[in-house]
Symmetry: C2
Subunit: 260 residues, 2 copies
DNA sequence: GATCTCAAAATGTCCGTACATTCCGCCCCG
DNA sequence: CGGGGCGGAATGTACGGACATTTTGAGATC
């Protein structure tokens, strides 16, 4: 059960004290003796309860923090953040278009927006000139069914299209569709990049996942017929909560999408 | 530069001592004052050289270990394992078939194989009966150009097909193609799941990436016409070294793959 | 009721000490 | 030459102490 990182190939007969304490605390969390959101006893309390040094308590708590089960902050204490991984949402892709957009069972929730003049690095990503006026929108993606958080999105669009921001998440329609209908633009191609990343502290906190936990990272560039980028969105999904799944039908030397 | 995990949103004016030491050591590694493969001075030496406690040295080294720059073992010392992330490989997908198989510019290198009788959990994944004889093959995936490691694969196939294992990575042809040509089986469908995960110690060590670093995790089930699983492969790619990229052409209400 | 201040609670940083465990190289012996 | 044993070097575990920093709640004041 206890998965605190251990580099040694051969496990010792008896576990170190701090690992045993970590296992005991994890058991208590799994058995819901400490509910998610509740606060564990403080270090001093744990010291006396388990008759170990503060060092040992801290090492044990470090293990649990690495597992993402707890979060520790000065002045607050040690809060249980997870009992087990949340149930995973599987996004079935019935066609390649699924890579372009999300199903209707989830929705964006804007949590921030700012106008900016793009620096050199961002200009490269957006394929525009440096200093151009763009708008960054930060949003969370939730399942509509149970409001579960499944992603954090950073969305970039030209400032000229910023008028759609108010409608994002409020009105039916994806961001690029809003841009198309409001400004008469036309998305002709979408470039998709799929990789993985770790959640930083800000994103982890917003999603309620451990800092430095794994995220599936999908970046999309929506281009018009001239190749210009109309919209770029980068979404990080918690690995434990989101999976893309699809099926290919084998044919000749290629493959066709198998609709569900 | 220093990316040791820090939970605090607002950085203090001055960094803690251990972070400063970690930064100094990382700088020395980047500048190749300590080459990859070489051993850093021991804890006691660093204590006297930097005039800090052993505790502070250990915390600093822990940061570097988390970054994957060093590896620490009793009796050996602290070895530099990486100077910087390896350059990233972008796997361009010219068609949906790209999700089914890898391009010709990389190759599998088998590092282990074992016969097994599948337990309940694995039986569910392989959709076979518990106790059935299967073969697990562990392999690394390398770019042929520079031998760079881009993935770790766990491959499962029925023991009846184990005869192809010797040819994996030695002869041209993907695993499922080897099975097809050798045993007359026929892959009709491929189910693909894309998510993210963290590298455990074993996989991290084999790939030379940090423990608990992000991996893009792709699972493929190859099925015959009756739906039976002929082959399951699960590959973890280091996020910094591997990205899937493709482009969709917008059309009607769907999307078509844009060939490169 | 709202705001400010202060103290207590909690974790973070950093020092020190001691012993345990593992690895590796060297030396000795067969 | 090869194998085994031993010692030294190195990190890992665990104890203790002290002070710093952050958060929160209670109480006082306006």
């Amino acid at each position: 059960m206890l998965k605190c990182p251990d580099m040694r190939v051969n496990q010792p007969k008896s576990q170190p004290r701090y690992r045993r304490l970590a296992a005991a605390l994890q058991k208590a969390i799994v058995e819901a003796r400490y509910a998610v959101g509740s606060t564990l006893p403080g270090e001093l309390e744990l010291m006396s309860r388990y008759r170990v040094s503060r060092h040992t308590v801290r090492e044990a708590l470090r293990c649990l923090a690495e597992l993402g089960l707890i979060s520790r902050n000065r002045g607050i204490g040690t809060v249980v953040t997870a009992r087990e991984p949340a149930s995973a949402h599987v996004q079935k892709l019935a066609s390649p278009a699924g890579w372009m957009r999300y199903a209707e069972d989830s929705r964006l929730e804007v949590i921030g927006t700012e106008a900016l003049h793009v620096d050199a690095a961002l200009a490269r990503r957006l394929e525009c000139r440096r200093g151009a006026p763009w708008r960054r929108v930060t949003a969370l993606r939730r399942l509509t069914a149970d409001r579960a958080l499944i992603g954090w999105s950073d969305i970039y669009l030209p400032e000229a299209y910023a008028g759609v921001v108010g409608a994002v998440g409020r009105r039916a329609g994806r961001v690029y569709e809003l841009i198309e209908s409001r400004f008469g633009a036309r998305v002709a191609r979408v470039e998709v990049q799929v990789t993985a990343d770790l959640f930083d502290a800000q994103r982890a906190r917003a999603l309620g996942v451990p800092v430095n936990s794994a995220s599936l990272c999908v970046t999309r560039r929506y281009r018009d017929a001239t190749g210009q980028v109309l919209l770029l969105s980068q979404t990080q999904h918690p690995a434990e909560r989101f999976t893309y799944a699809f099926e290919l039908l084998r044919g000749g030397d290629g493959a066709a999408w198998l609709a569900a």
